[in-house]
């Protein structure tokens, strides 16, 4: 806060470093998980994964080539009939075991997620990993109730699922993909993002520990080519992709006419709308968790803030204050609010957008100028005012801790501006008036709408977007639909 005079009694009170020192071991060579075993890549190719907070190499990861993908898909294919013939109750047992084992190893998973991806330990510990376990628990519950989810039709599995996930919530996205697929009797080949493979591979260890039948879930690591080989494979029946809209469009073209089912969870430029009658202090909390959660590496981040004109000054003032209290730095420190940017290339992307914002005439506010570590990829959280809807930073997904602030005068204008985007993933509405919430929310073109809150996730709640944000839902009963074929008997 803007306090100028010095206190007479005490100086500042700061938090001492509180790093999570739990030691975990990381294999130096991380192989592919195919058919229930860790196998060396036939491609003989490896790549390094680093800690984005220190730029230190953590380990080598196998880069799966075409032959490796073929082996993985074939292993999933051969495991599928038996897996789908198991009763729902039996499949559920495995999923429950996975969930419990993840809880038991939660700390290890959280630390590894933070080391490999750069997100603060506070988030991996309190958000990511608990949600991972919840997701397996939740879909374990559905495994023997599929007939009730689709009354009047006979749900049967789709077959082999190629699942490709991004680096922002590595293990959570793996859970979102694998849990419903397995619950419905499918088998899976999952490819994590190349910068964040470690927790998915450790999940493979969990599969071994719980005795998941060989080939039911396979983890293949690699970059874009690996993903392409996987999606293209003839024996794949379904492709599920979370990532950029660009790649999503490519996949749509690739899979067209192949008979493969497809679901896409893509980018977003979600609107967070604050009306003058909202609880402002709490709305500011919502702005903060909307855009700075996970360094802004969130597809549903509330990256476009629309503030009713009459309260703009107050909101900017409070936002500036609150932003100043965020702690940026060592992701393993339990008091860190913002960790490292996931990769150098992402940092460059974010910086390019910040530059474009300045060049196009928006005003940059750097309310938090903490000294950042000399090594690693860092970006102080910031926001722009004087943003015009035509500015690049108001239209394109930045995927970083950068917020664009715009104004509106009437609800109609707010809705029109919010909907004026190629994306339609999420939105936030902040007002103390219940009637206004419903009035506005039903007119917003977004798959997820949070009212007087933001970035709340639950396994029971469907997640997914409209327009260029993709199609298909993950989570909830709706999340089963992409993994079943419906027929009648």
């Amino acid at each position: 806060m803007t306090i100028t005079t010095q206190p007479e009694t005490v100086g500042g009170w700061d938090y001492s470093p509180a790093p999570d020192n739990t030691k975990i071991t990381i294999e130096q060579k991380n192989k592919l998980f195919i058919g229930g075993k860790f196998v060396s890549p036939k491609s003989r190719s490896w790549f390094a994964t680093i800690n984005p907070a220190t730029e230190e190499k953590l380990a080598d990861i196998a880069c799966a080539g075409r032959a490796d993908i073929d082996a993985a898909v074939r292993s999933a294919k051969s495991a599928q009939p038996k897996w789908s013939r198991l009763s729902g109750t039996e499949r559920a047992k495995y999923l429950y075991r996975i969930a419990r084992r993840i809880q038991e190893r939660a700390r290890e998973f959280a630390i590894l997620e933070t080391m490999d991806g750069g997100k603060p330990i506070k988030e991996s510990r309190d958000v990511d990993i608990p949600l991972v376990a919840q997701h397996f628990f939740y879909y374990a519950g559905w495994a023997d109730k599929l007939a009730y989810a689709f009354p009047g039709s006979e749900p049967s599995p789709v077959g082999v699922c190629a699942q490709i996930i991004p680096w922002n919530f590595p293990l959570l996205m793996a859970a979102w993909k694998i849990a419903p697929a397995l619950a419905c009797g499918n088998t899976s080949v999952l490819k994590p993002a190349e910068t964040t493979s470690l927790t998915a591979l450790r999940l493979a260890e969990v599969f071994q520990e719980v005795g998941l039948p060989d080939g039911v879930a396979n983890i293949v690591t690699g970059a874009g080519d690996t993903g392409r080989f996987l999606a293209e494979h003839k024996l794949v029946n379904k492709v599920a992709f979370t990532g950029s809209t660009e790649v999503g469009k490519l996949l749509m073209r690739e899979t067209a006419g192949t008979g493969k089912k497809l679901t896409l969870e893509l980018g977003g430029k979600s609107a967070n709308i604050i009306f003058a009658d909202a609880a402002i202090d709490q709305a500011v909390e919502g702005i903060i968790s909307g855009i700075y959660f996970n360094q802004g590496h969130v597809c549903c981040a509330g990256s476009r803030l629309f503030v009713e004109e009459s309260i703009l000054e107050e909101v900017i003032h409070k936002l500036t204050q609150r932003l100043g209290s965020l702690r940026v730095g060592d992701p393993l420190d339990k008091n860190t609010d913002l960790g490292a940017i996931n990769s150098l290339s992402q940092l460059e992307t974010v910086e390019r957008y910040i530059t474009s914002g300045i060049q196009e005439g928006a005003q940059l506010h750097r309310a938090n100028e903490q000294r950042l570590p000399s090594k690693g990829y860092w970006c102080n959280p910031c926001f722009f005012t004087d943003v015009q809807p035509s500015h690049t930073i108001a239209r394109e997904e930045i995927f970083g801790p950068v917020l664009s602030v715009m104004t509106f005068r009437t609800p109609e204008e707010a809705i029109a501006r919010a909907n004026n985007s190629p994306y339609g993933l999420a939105a936030g509405v902040w007002t103390d008036k219940g009637s206004k919430i419903f009035e506005v929310a039903k007119q917003l073109d977004a798959g997820i709408i949070w009212c007087n809150t933001y970035n709340k996730f639950d396994a029971a709640s469907p997640f997914g977007g409209f327009k260029e944000s993709g199609f298909g839902r993950e989570g909830g009963m709706q999340g089963l639909r992409p993994y079943v074929r419906l027929g009648g008997v």
Partner: protein, 305 residues
Amino acid sequence: MTMRRPVDTVMVEQRAASFTRRSIKTDSKQQGLRLALSMIDLTTLEGKDSPEKVRSLCHKAITPWEGVLDPPLPSVAAVCVYPSLVQVAKHALEGSGVLVASVATGFPSGQYPLAVRLNDVTEAVKAGADEIDMVINRGAFLSGCFEEVAEEIAQVRIASGSAHLKIILETGELETLENVRAASDLAMQAAASTGPIEDGEVFIKTSTGKVSPAATMPVTLVMLEAIREYYEKTGVRIGMKPAGGIKTAKQALHYLVMVKETLGDDWLSPHLFRFGASSLTNDVLRQLIKQNTGQYGATYDFSEA
């Protein structure tokens, strides 16, 4: 009358919970615990209070622990008693720098004629109270008679003279966070209506300790936000005192984190922040001594009062 500010309970609770996830270790723990100790209003408010009880409490207030620590432990901020025991406390604390706070205005209910309540204040001040902890008229507040509440606060401030004033909202009876916010705004404005306020001269306080729930993190956060906005409008720093229910050193550190991240380091001073508590003192001592010696003392290692 002030505009009622909307308050969203869900997000207040979320933010309040976030302060409890800060990890306060080593040096910052040591510093924080000492700070917490110096902010305590050591309190006894029972029908069975006797002069001797108050005298031993005063001794504890001045020297919280008889052992030797380097640097020496601070005294607590004040001793808080009923008006009839103010003189005893005043005498026992003479020259120590520890202040005497007296509850007044028909504490804890406030259900007495105004004249009786004001006289209560006058007598406590006359007996030597440095600070008056008053209760607001919750009945009037809840029935919407805000001007009556404000007028009474103004009169109590006048009756308090140079004694500092802590205005108890009794948030457990106000129930909603919006009421807490409205009562906070009202109390600060009413106090200011009788003349300028020096920094730390007026506090708003959560509870009497006689009603459950007493102080909670969400309630305190809403009050801190009211103080922040009042400071930004007027430049005056109002103090904050959560009271009742803060029993452990860990809780106290959570509150300090909340104050720091809501109002800034300025408020991290007994001049502007107090804990109304009794059992908190010994837990803070226990943690402090553990930090220095590596061993937890038994509960009987610390004097009751």
